[in-house]
């Protein structure tokens, strides 16, 4: 299955990302070994210039990572007709269970890279760049994750066996009909709906409170709430939001909404969810790092921006995902 154009593109993309990170990692090692912020030597000057190279490499790698995440979902949808019983991207993932791991690692990578870039942004805005060591050690930790992503992708795609006609007979003897589960069964609607809205409410209250007060406790709670929001929202998307979006009480797929026949509504939904999660996590994550005065100053000016972006993400997510629920003709819960 490797010789599918989309799969080739994905593998090529992952190899390039790995190469970019390896170059960045090489520079990071040099920086970690020789970095001395107090020195004015030529080496230090050169190292300071190289930090720009690293952050640019990472920015691009992160951008490519997002693109390949969507291309991965796109490809899954494209290849599903090759598998008996598969109806959408979920079916392609079920055809070789490693696929779920690939998806997990890819999402994890996108978050990790975004955190790294946020910390890097803060650090580069200060004069004394106090976070250099933490930054470059975590960068080195990202490399194995990217390599894992590439390897898992290879395992997934090379393990796919599309059903084809063989020379003696049809394939029907190899595939046992619709043995593959093609939809995800979610939580029951009655429980999922209150849970989802409770978490959204909790998150929104904490977000607004964080915008008003600068207490550390609020940031920590918001961090927890946004992680909760991410997973509960994914569950809600599978459990009932997708039903409203497709207007079909049996279609529970989190991937189909990314397709053209649903007007690509999935993109704003996932973008909103991603922004709401990421930007609400950042204050809680960066505060413990802000040990110096310069960083604290930077954080003070960045935090409100992040929180507003998170709020915007939440609104985008809620509007696009719940629009059909409020205004659509499908009624899921009887009254």
């Amino acid at each position: 299955m490797i010789l599918h154009p989309g799969i080739l593109a994905l593998l090529l993309g992952s190899i390039l990302i790995l190469l970019l990170l390896l170059v960045a990692g090489g520079v990071a090692l040099r920086i970690l070994r020789h970095w001395n912020a107090d020195s004015g030597s030529a080496t230090q000057l050169q190292l300071e210039r190289q930090t720009w190279l690293v952050s640019t490499l990472l920015k691009y790698a992160f951008g490519f990572q997002i693109v390949t995440l969507f291309l991965f979902l796109f490809t899954l949808d494209e290849i599903h007709p090759l598998f008996v019983g598969a109806m959408c991207a979920t079916g392609s993932l079920n055809a070789n269970l490693v696929g779920w791991l690939v998806l997990l690692v890819k999402i994890g990578l996108v978050f990790a890279a975004a955190f790294w870039l946020a910390v890097n942004y803060l650090d580069q805005r200060t004069e004394d760049t106090p976070l250099v060591r933490i930054k470059y050690v975590t960068l080195l930790l990202l490399i194995p994750l990217v390599a894992l992503d590439l390897w898992l992708q290879w395992e997934y795609f090379s393990g796919l066996r599309p059903q084809m006609i063989t020379s003696c007979c049809g394939s029907l003897f190899s595939a046992e009909g619709e043995g593959v589960i093609s939809t995800l069964a979610g939580l029951p609607v009655e429980q999922a709906m209150p849970l989802f809205f409770a978490v959204v409410l909790l998150y929104a209250v904490l977000l607004l409170a964080s915008l008003r007060w600068r207490a550390m406790l609020l940031r920590t709670l918001l961090f927890v709430a946004s992680v909760l929001l991410f997973f509960v929202s994914l569950a809600a998307l599978v459990s009932f939001l997708s039903l409203y979006i497709y207007q079909m009480p049996s279609h529970q797929c989190p991937f189909d909404m990314l397709q053209g026949h649903y007007y690509y509504i999935g993109y704003p939904i996932y973008l909103g969810l991603f922004m709401a999660t990421l930007f609400a996590m950042l204050p809680g994550l960066c505060r413990p790092l802000a040990t110096t005065l310069s960083l604290d100053e930077e954080l003070k000016s960045s935090e409100p921006v992040w929180l507003r972006l998170a709020l915007f993400g939440l609104i985008l997510f809620l509007v696009t995902s719940c629009w059909q629920m409020v205004f659509g003709p499908l009624i899921l819960l009887g009254y």
Partner: protein, 385 residues
């Protein structure tokens, strides 16, 4: 910062100042994109064509094999299959290939039974007598007969048979009828000298799509020398085949991409003395390394996007207007007889996404380090030259 209009203007004028170099680069880049794009567009169009053709195909086609080869199937098998619950109509089909030495092409001769529903007639009527026939648009073009003219073919014992053309086909999909000659079944059996109790294959109609695989299994169980092929399997196979072919071509052309990337790397690394001076002046004016880097990367992005659009247009023209003369023989495979059929003009987002990933990402990745090298040069060194 990327959206800053003034900076964009600066990047554009900077590109324009070195237009010979950049235009040459864009041309080569666009040609690479056009090559890869043609492969993707063409396979997608052929796949769409095959899928439209197959939606009209019967649920199951049953062939007989003997010694691993396709053999004529006894018509009595049709009755056995028609006895299974859930099976609708079972139709024995008579068809075969005919090589015409005059136009040097293969024609497909089919008996009118079993084909009726699938084809829509453009003009004329179906054959009603033994010496009448209906032909595909491609056949009409190659031989030149119109409705009412005679089509002359040589049968298996080299006797001359004349058929009067009563209609010319134009089906939803060209691939299906282009090389078709439809005769009455008895006339065709006579032409091929095929005994009345045998047929080429059987088509089986199944009412419930979920029962197709069960019925196919039953057929294989009760008629062990038969080979049932379901429509789904045909679709899978075509899909895999085209994916494999285009993937193969892509893998071959990626070497061309590599060669281009080396060129691009080289171009980006070897910046001219004038360019170095420019960077030096910018830095002396107060630009930081990150600003120069941003400008350089914006230039790379502009080149990429321009080349992508130009390349995509070229690919579109090559595939859909010219009919992909450079790739068709490699990709099409099954019908070298009438190479000029109109491809369905479809470009979907997925093909564009794949093309973008394969071409833009590597180019950007490969200009990153040279751009940084240029941007981090010391203004003092550069100005002194």
């Amino acid at each position: 910062m990327i959206l800053n209009v003034k900076l964009l203007e600066y990047s554009l004028s900077s590109l324009w100042r070195r237009k010979e170099k950049n235009i040459a680069l864009i041309i080569v880049y666009a040609l690479v994109i056009a090559t890869l794009g043609s492969v993707l567009l063409l396979t997608h169009a052929l796949k769409t064509e095959a899928v439209t053709t197959l939606t009209a195909a019967p649920e199951i086609v049953v062939q007989r094999t003997q010694g691993g080869r396709h053999e004529l199937i006894p018509v009595t098998y049709a009755e056995t299959i028609a006895g299974f619950p859930g099976v609708g109509k079972v139709t024995p089909r008579v068809w075969g290939y005919y090589y015409d030495s005059l136009i040097k092409a293969n024609l497909t001769l089919v008996g009118v039974e079993g084909y009726h529903e699938q084809l829509e007639l453009l003009e004329g009527r179906f054959p009603q007598a033994a010496d009448e026939c209906v032909i595909g648009a491609g056949v009409a073009e190659a031989f030149g007969p119109q409705i009412g003219d005679l089509l002359v073919l040589e049968d298996s014992s080299k006797r001359r048979s004349e058929f009067r053309v009563t209609g010319i086909f134009r089906a939803a999909s060209n691939l299906l009828t282009n090389d078709l000659v439809v005769l009455q079944e008895a006339a065709l059996r006579d032409f091929f000298a095929m005994p009345a109790e045998l047929a080429t294959d059987l088509t089986v109609q199944v009412y419930n799509p979920r029962e197709v695989s069960t019925i196919a299994k039953k057929i294989a169980y009760f008629l062990p020398d038969s080979r049932p092929i379901t429509r789904e399997e045909l679709l899978h196979t075509y899909d895999s085949l085209f994916n494999w072919r285009s993937g193969m071509m892509l893998a071959v052309f990626i070497s061309a991409l590599m060669a281009f990337l080396i060129l691009a790397w080289d171009r980006a690394t070897g910046i001219s003395a004038e360019e170095k001076r420019e960077i030096g002046i910018l830095k002396a004016l107060g630009w930081e390394t990150s600003h120069v880097l941003g400008a350089k990367l914006r230039e790379a992005l502009l080149i990429s996007l321009t080349a992508f659009i130009v390349g995509l247009l070229l690919a579109w023209l090559h595939v859909f207007v010219l009919g992909a003369p450079l790739l068709m023989p490699l990709l099409k495979g099954w019908s070298v007889l009438f190479p000029t059929f109109d491809l369905t003009r479809v470009v979907d987002l997925y093909q564009l996404a794949v093309l973008g990933c394969v071409t833009i990402i590597p180019y950007l990745a490969c200009t990153l380090i040279p751009a940084w090298k240029a941007a981090s040069s010391d203004p003092d060194d550069v100005m002194r030259g």
